[in-house]
């Protein structure tokens, strides 16, 4: 998992943006969702989620606000901004190109 963590670091932003695409989530919800969507293959080092979240917030790609959970607890909810949505599309496209290129290389050998 640890070796993969470095590799994931670069794509963590995309994973976060992607997981927020449907609806606002709190931090733990984001980490849970990433695991769910990837069928537990992508095990994000959970703590590193937060610096990444704050960086995205600083860049204006996500917003955050206090909200209340179903159990009535005060939680910080993250929302994708319009700029975030755009950035997500760009990174998605980049990622796909990268995967295709990798595929080609791997099949070619």
């Amino acid at each position: 998992v640890t070796e993969r963590a470095d590799f994931l670091q670069g794509t963590l932003d995309l994973l976060i943006l992607r997981s927020l695409a449907l609806r606002p989530l709190h931090g733990w919800g984001i980490s849970k969702r990433i695991r769910q969507l990837s069928a537990d293959v992508l095990q994000v080092n959970q703590g590193s989620l937060y610096p990444a979240l704050y960086r995205l917030e600083d860049r204006g790609l996500v917003n955050s606000a206090w909200g209340t959970s179903d159990e009535g607890r005060r939680i910080r909810l993250y929302t994708l901004t319009a700029a975030g949505r755009k950035q997500m599309r760009v990174e998605q496209a980049d990622w796909r190109r990268f995967v295709e290129a990798m595929e080609q290389v791997l099949e070619g050998t």
């Binding site: 590193s48 610096p51 204006g60």
Partner: protein
């Protein structure tokens, strides 16, 4: 750009609420751990194990907290704030230096900002109260020079538009959004025995709507009202306050030129009319001209050119396009109405460059002043750089230690620049205070002229931006030098003291020379201003102003003919002379030393042939008999004008002896004739030459006409009483005037001394400025030189000590230090002198050089400089040689 700003704003707010954010992070992480643990528990793990696993999966909380802090970009902001705190502390540690820098920068920035806001008031906001008034242009007609001889009109080729012309042109120039027309008219307002003079404008029906004005009270007259010829008036906000005490006047009636007129609106507060610099009291529709101005035919006659026409250009139109359309329109008019328009052209001129109004001499004067003040600011910057360099030298160790401990170059530069930026921004803040105070200086000086002058100078956003911008530029300018210097020395010299004195003082010497040069330019200017202002106290005017009371009156707008004017004026004079305290009285069209200057007219002397094609012109005035007695101007030969009622004598003039010297050398002047226009005048006397327009003028020829030959509706009563008794006499004038004519407005009652004093405002304001700035600059220069010399001798302490130990005399050491410093100073001063000289002959061509200024100021500056260099040099020579040697 915007995103960056938002990001910075977010970071700063976050930093301010650092505690809140740390709590938020803790909250989130704790919540995360709990949720994860609960999740694991649900999967079947015991509680303690679930918590342990959750923490394991989360990783090191502390590390993420640190990373989060960085992630928010707060590190840089934190550095910057630390620099500010550190800079502030180090400035507080040397309060004297910081104080000098802040005050000198504050004054430098303050005067520059104040002058800028004056210029801005005229050029960028020429119509106060009207948005975007800088986009307004005038259609300025002029008489094209006719090619045939004899028809050329010398001088007065500037014209106005007639009302019918305006009606035509209005629809022919699509580049303008809408054209408005207006003309200046003095009105008599009030009932018999209670009249005042009001400055008014006759305006086109679309005037207020085209200017985009909203009334303060009431409604501006609609086109229907205007075209129906209903007698309505709009009054200014000031007039409303001063004459009607802010009462609800809309709908009430006032007497205007002895007609009932209804006030329909009060103009918005800032609006003062549409002649640059003039402050109008009221506006009436031009359609009322025949009613108010005794049946004036100006609405129909193409020859009566009295209206100014102006408008805002459409957003998509250029002045060049507008000029083309206007030229075409004027050509069309010339074709349709050759007898009035054959030679009339028109130019499109930016409103603020209108050829009429006080800004004609104000703008160039302000531009010169601004230039000088920028030089002053440069000198202040050079001085500050010197002081900062000297101070930085004492910090070389501190910087070296910082470098040694691993601080990067950019961190040190940013630390030093932060310090100088702090200094200059505090200076700018002080400058803004000074500028606020300075912008009121022009407002505070009411000038007595035929029409009240007012400039609404304000410090607005642009003014503030200029002040802060100047501050920032200064901060970088004088902050960079010490920063670079320190870095260089930090690199090579590390922790050692001394070394390579010569190379580093070169830059400092150059700065000192530049400062002295710049200071000399400003000091020369200051001396010229102060001397020319001082001269006004000593210069003999040629007339005796003590004991003269002035009062203006105006019969205009009443349709009084020339014969009646002569009769009324004669009677007015007769009654005034009848007052017990009055020794003599006369009337003149113009008062000498007035801010507007006297009129100039072309003339021809029969028998005189000029070598070139130009025309002789002379200053003129129109006076009644008794004027020369009243003013105590001697008549050198000949006798005064004939009585106002005389109908026999031919038209008469009196000239001054300068006129005789220039044009009538060697002939008997009395009895000669002069031609003005198509009329011949006989010289009856020669008067002594006096001052007419300014204290510094050279002897000027003048021609006095007799009021009998050129009566006019308005004039200035000149009443002589015993000196000191003028103001006691003042209340007696108005009742006497009402005896002659119950509607005659008397205004601007003041002594001749007051008149002269008030009209000196454009000399007094700069003179006062320089009276403060000159000495300040001299002191600053002395401080700068002192700091540099003091620093250099302290660096050479070892060398000096060695020389003293080897037997050099103290005097010799002083001599050498002085020689080094004075060489640089002299070079700087000489360069400054040459520049000042070049500026002077450019600005005042043909004026003689004032030796007291051009020799005295450099002498004074060099003396002060020598003293400032001598003090530290002498101290250096007194040190104990053994002590300094041991230090090494």
């Amino acid at each position: 750009m915007f995103g960056r700003g938002a990001q910075l704003a977010r970071r700063i707010t976050r930093l301010m609420r650092r505690g809140a954010h740390e709590r938020r992070m803790d909250d989130e992480m704790r919540f995360h751990l709990e949720m994860e643990a609960a999740d694991l528990q649900r999967a079947g793990l015991p509680p303690a194990e679930a918590r342990r696993r959750a923490r394991l999966m989360f990783g090191a909380v502390e590390r993420f907290r640190e990373e989060s802090w960085d992630a928010r970009g707060l590190r840089q902001v934190e550095h910057a704030l630390r620099d500010v705190r550190h800079g502030w502390r180090s400035l507080i540690r040397s309060p004297l230096l910081s104080g000098v820098v802040v005050v000198s920068l504050g004054v430098g920035i303050g005067v520059n900002t104040a002058i800028f806001s004056w210029i801005q008031a005229v050029t960028l906001n020429p119509i106060p109260g009207v948005a975007d008034s800088r986009d307004y242009y005038l259609l300025q007609p002029r008489a094209a020079m006719a090619s045939g001889a004899g028809q050329a009109q010398a001088g007065g080729t500037r014209l106005e538009m007639s009302w019918p012309e305006y009606q035509d042109v209005r629809d022919w120039v699509p580049s303008f959004e809408e054209l408005i027309a207006f003309r200046t008219v003095p009105f008599t307002e009030g009932r018999s025995g209670h009249t005042v003079r009001a400055a008014g404008q006759l305006v086109s029906a679309n005037y207020f709507s085209a200017l985009g004005l909203q009334p303060r009270l009431g409604r501006f007259p609609s086109g229907d009202v205007v075209h129906a010829g209903e007698p309505v008036v709009v009054i200014s906000h000031d007039y409303w306050q001063t004459r009607f005490a802010g009462a609800d006047v809309v709908g009430s009636t006032i007497r205007l030129n002895d007609r009932d007129v209804t006030i329909v609106a009060v103009a918005p507060q800032r609006f003062q009319g549409t002649v640059l610099g003039l402050d109008f009291n009221l506006w009436v529709p031009a359609e009322m001209a025949p009613l108010l101005l005794a049946g004036s035919g100006e609405l129909k006659e193409r020859g009566m050119r009295a209206y100014s026409v102006a408008g805002r250009l459409r957003a998509d139109a250029t002045p060049a396009q507008a000029q083309g359309q206007v030229a075409a329109a004027m050509a069309r008019l010339a074709g349709m109405y050759p007898e009035t328009n054959r030679n009339v052209r028109a130019d499109v001129v930016p409103y603020w460059r209108a050829p009429a109004g006080p800004q004609q001499f104000l703008i160039p004067a302000l531009a010169i002043l601004q230039g000088l003040m920028l030089i002053l600011l440069l000198a202040v910057c050079a001085n500050t750089a010197n002081l900062m360099l000297a101070r930085a030298a004492t910090r070389q160790r501190e910087i070296a230690v910082r470098r040694a401990l691993g601080a990067s170059r950019s961190r040190i530069i940013s630390l030093l620049l932060t310090e100088s930026m702090l200094l200059s921004l505090v200076g700018a803040a002080l400058g803004i205070v000074i500028a606020f105070w300075g912008t009121t200086a022009l407002r505070a000086g009411p000038m007595i002229t035929a029409f009240p002058i007012r400039y609404q100078t304000d410090m607005d956003g642009l003014g503030l931006a200029v002040a802060l911008g100047l501050g920032a530029v200064c901060g970088v300018a004088f902050g960079l030098a010490p920063a670079l210097q320190l870095l260089r020395s930090g690199q090579s010299g590390s922790l050692r003291v001394g070394k390579s004195w010569a190379t580093r003082t070169k830059a400092r010497g150059a700065l000192m020379g530049i400062e002295v040069g710049l200071a000399l330019i400003v000091l020369v200017a200051a001396a010229i201003f102060l001397r020319s202002f001082g001269e006004t106290r000593d210069t003999a005017t040629g007339f005796e102003s003590d004991g003269i009371l002035l009062a203006a009156y105006d019969f205009s707008g009443r349709g009084v003919d020339d014969a009646e004017l002569r009769r009324l004026t004669d009677e007015l004079l007769l009654r005034v002379r009848g007052l017990a305290a009055v020794e003599a009285a006369a009337i003149a069209r113009m008062v000498p030393l007035d801010i507007h200057g006297m009129s100039v007219r072309p003339f021809t002397l029969p028998g005189r042939v000029r070598s070139d094609a130009a025309v002789d012109v002379s200053t003129i005035n129109v006076v009644t008999p008794g004027y020369f007695t009243t003013m105590q101007i001697p008549l050198l030969t000949g006798s005064d004008f004939v009585d106002l009622k005389d109908e026999v004598a031919p038209p008469q003039v009196i000239v001054n002896d300068e006129f005789v010297r220039r044009y009538l050398e060697g002939v008997e002047p009395v009895g000669r004739t002069i031609q003005f226009g198509d009329r011949m005048y006989t010289i009856t006397a020669v008067a002594a030459t006096t001052l007419y327009n300014s204290f510094s003028e050279r002897p000027t020829p003048i021609v006095y006409f007799s009021y009998r030959d050129r009566p006019s509706a308005g004039g200035e009563l000149h009443v002589r009483t015993r000196p000191g008794g003028e103001l006691a006499l003042a209340p007696e004038i108005r009742p006497i005037a009402y005896e002659v004519d119950p509607l005659l407005p008397i205004y601007d009652v003041r002594t001749l001394d007051q008149h002269v004093e008030k009209n000196l405002i454009f000399r007094r304001v700069p003179a006062r400025m320089f009276a403060v700035l000159g000495p300040m600059l001299l002191i600053l220069a002395a401080m700068g030189i002192y700091a540099v010399v003091e620093f250099s001798v302290s660096r050479r302490a070892a060398e000096i000590g060695l020389r003293l130990a080897l037997g050099a005399s103290a005097a010799r050491v002083v001599r050498q230090v002085m020689r080094d410093s004075l060489r640089v100073i002299t070079i700087g001063a000489a360069s400054g002198w040459v520049i000042a000289f070049l500026i002077y002959i450019h600005v005042a061509p043909g004026e003689p050089l004032d030796p007291a200024v051009f020799a005295g100021v450099p002498a004074l500056l060099l003396l002060v400089a020598a003293l400032a260099a001598w003090v530290p040099a002498r101290r250096a020579s007194r040190v104990d040689p053994m002590r300094t040697l041991r230090l090494e």
